[in-house]
């Protein structure tokens, strides 16, 4: 199977600090990969580079064989819109929008009819089990529900690749388990690949393959 995403010898420095010294990885379609590491090990910086939110100091990122590093900011935004879903530890929902509107949020700049946008958002919200919470504002939802909304938002454009940064970090153990179960369910239903950044063994255990990040160096582990 050809790789969905491939990173070659990525490096990132912030002044004198080398956040990522060397990171090479690949992600195949439909697999769940976990990157484990302590706080400050450079794993979030790695995720930001892979998602095109941060440009690497050195190295290359290939998405389906295309060099993502050649894209400018706007082209990267469009690339993310079409190919990448992002899930954050702090959910980062828009506080003034309802759950349904938050799910539809990536679709707003697209020239879609309101009905189509709504239908797509409703379908994703149903997929994460929150159809009955569509009109609720984030402030009226639990942490687990907010994370489900964020996952539905990440999926709304049917991206082949989802990046999740500490997706269970702000959730209790039971809710965290539910989210991991949801990831697996969604992988099976949509065929999307997941790259999860975590320091939690339970999250890593849910992955097909685990990579370890130590002091900015990514070490391959057996899956």
């Amino acid at each position: 199977m050809s790789d969905l995403l491939q990173a070659e010898k990525l490096q990132k420095s912030f002044g004198a600090v080398q956040a990522v010294r060397e990171a090479s990885l690949w992600i195949a379609p439909g697999e769940i990969v976990a990157v484990m590491g302590r706080s400050g090990s450079g794993k979030t910086t790695l995720l930001h580079m892979l998602a095109g939110l941060e440009s690497p100091t050195a190295g290359k990122i290939l998405y389906r064989g295309e060099d993502v590093g050649r894209l400018d900011e706007d082209a990267l935004a469009l690339w993310r819109r079409a190919n990448i879903g992002l899930v954050f530890q702090a959910f980062h929902l828009i506080p003034t929008l309802s759950a349904l509107e938050n799910v539809a949020f990536p679709l707003y700049p697209m020239q879609l009819r309101a009905a189509e946008r709504r239908a797509r958002a409703e379908a994703r919200l149903a997929q994460v089990g929150l159809a009955d919470r569509a009109q609720h504002l984030p402030s009226r939802m639990s942490g687990g529900e907010q994370q489900r909304v964020a996952i539905a938002r990440a999926l709304v454009n049917n991206p082949p690749l989802i990046f999740a940064d500490e997706p269970t970090g702000n959730l209790d153990s039971t809710t965290g388990d539910e989210i991991l179960t949801l990831f697996k369910k969604l992988r099976n239903e949509t065929g999307a690949a997941f790259l999860m950044i975590t320091h939690d063994d339970k999250v890593a255990a849910a992955a097909d393959r685990v990579l370890k990040m130590v002091d900015g160096i990514l070490q391959n582990e057996k899956g």
């Binding site: 706080s39 400050g40 794993k43 979030t44 910086t45 930001h48 998602a51 939110l53 941060e54 900011e73 706007d74 935004a77 469009l78 993310r80 819109r81 079409a82 992002l86 954050f88 530890q89 702090a90 980062h92 828009i94 506080p95 003034t96 929008l97 509107e101 949020f105 990536p106 707003y108 700049p109 309101a114 504002l137 938002r153 990440a154 454009n157 940064d165 500490e166 970090g169």
Partner: protein, 417 residues
């Protein structure tokens, strides 16, 4: 741009939306009200002239005679020659000229201010024909008749048919007129045919002693002009009549309104603009703090695939809606303010030289004035200005916003490490 998202932001952040909108509203209201106030005063200042349908009056400073006996010219007037009148009539922008002869008559029975006019004139003192309270107005071909100011007639027990003496000639009262409005410029006690007034002036020793009076001279002109050329015509008339010319216009009446109006007239636009800029600065502050508060939101937008211009258009749309809503609310406030202003009365004093009365008589040097409701109102021009300024402010803030958004790096904002 998502209207749905825009409205949700405005609805769910009411304090910020209200502060932004209200700051612009206050700026617009101040700007528009000040301009409406100044415009109203400028229009009110023209009231003494508009009451008689004229745009300018022209006269020439005269000479004080050695004696005040019989008919004399007030020293604010001197003869205006036929050739000068013809030159004025031919000026570009001059639509019509009404000729008038103003005089004082010192009779054994008392002092009389007299005015000779052509009854066929539809403006100037000829407007008095609409203010006849008894009898009739002067007519073409009249001779030896007069219309009396009703107050003067009452004080002197004159009625229709009464005989009055002017310069040794008798005049029969054929009408009484209320001169409180149209008669405030060149306010007279008796109005007589122009031809009779000329005859009186030409025969008067105290006129002849100081002037080379000619049969077809007059000493006061009321002039109707093209509204766009009032100032140019006034300047040209001054050139024709020489250095002693007194040409009055709405502008010169405005000078009589005092220092408050002068301040507003001179600095109204500036103060209005400063108020507006202050409002714009408030809006900018609201937007700035909003962008700072929402930097995480902006970072999320970028992360989920919004381009920089998508973000900018969305946030700019919010500012534009706030600015336009603020502009409309400001216009509504300004409409209320101007309505309240329009309920107030403005008294426009008539300069002494336009209604001269002798200083040396008891009750002389009477101050005449025209009192009108302040004609303050919103004009389409002001509305367009206010909304245009609101949009310009929103656009400028939008440009600033673009720079601020470009400075937000999603990776920095969204980082958990």
């Amino acid at each position: 741009m998502s209207l749905h998202y825009l409205l949700a932001e405005l609805r769910n952040r009411p304090v910020r939306a209200f502060t932004g909108m209200f700051s612009i509203a206050i700026g617009v209201a101040l700007f528009v009200s000040l301009q409406a106030y100044a415009d109203g005063y400028r229009q009110a200042a023209r009231a003494p002239l508009t009451e008689v349908g004229a745009d300018l009056t022209a006269q020439r400073q005269g000479t004080v005679p050695s004696k005040f006996e019989g008919v004399v010219f007030p020293h604010s007037t001197a003869p205006i020659r036929r050739d000068e009148i013809n030159q004025i009539r031919q000026l570009s922008g001059v639509q019509a000229v009404a000729e008038v002869m103003f005089f004082w008559s010192f009779e054994p029975g008392g002092f009389v201010a007299g005015l000779g006019l052509d009854p066929s004139d539809t403006f100037g003192p000829g407007r008095l024909k609409a203010d006849i309270t008894a009898g009739r107005f002067l007519q073409a071909g009249d001779h030896g008749v007069a219309v009396a100011d009703s107050t003067y007639a009452q004080q002197n027990k004159l009625t229709l048919g009464s005989i009055v003496m002017l310069g040794g000639q008798s005049f029969t009262i054929v009408g009484l007129a209320n001169t409180s409005r149209a008669g405030q410029l060149a306010n007279a006690n008796l109005y007589i045919p122009l031809l009779d007034a000329r005859t009186l002036a030409n025969a008067a020793p105290q006129v002849r002693s100081v002037f080379d009076i000619r049969p077809d001279d007059v000493n006061l002109l009321f002039i109707k002009t093209d509204q766009t050329r009032v100032d140019q015509v006034a300047a040209q008339i001054k050139q024709i009549l020489g250095e002693k010319a007194i040409v009055s216009s709405g502008q010169s009446f405005a000078a009589e309104l005092g220092s408050l109006f002068a301040l507003i007239d001179r600095f109204g636009l500036l103060v209005g603009l400063i108020a507006f800029l202050f409002a714009a600065a408030l809006l900018l502050r609201v937007v700035a703090s909003s962008v700072w508060e929402r930097r995480r939101e902006v970072a999320v937008m970028r992360a989920v695939g919004w381009r920089e211009r998508d973000v900018m258009i969305q946030l700019w749309g919010e500012i534009l809606v706030l600015a336009i809503a603020g502009g409309l609310v400001g216009l509504a406030l300004a409409a209320l303010t101007t309505w309240a202003m329009s309920r107030s009365l403005v008294t426009v004093p008539v300069p002494w030289e336009l209604s001269p009365s002798p200083h040396f008589l008891p009750g002389g040097a009477t101050a005449f004035a025209v009192t009108v409701a302040l004609p303050a109102h919103l004009t389409l021009n002001l509305v367009v200005w206010a909304l245009g300024l609101s949009v310009v402010v929103a656009s400028l803030i939008g440009l600033w916003l673009l720079r601020r958004i470009a400075q937000i790096h999603p990776a920095e904002v969204l980082s958990n490490e």
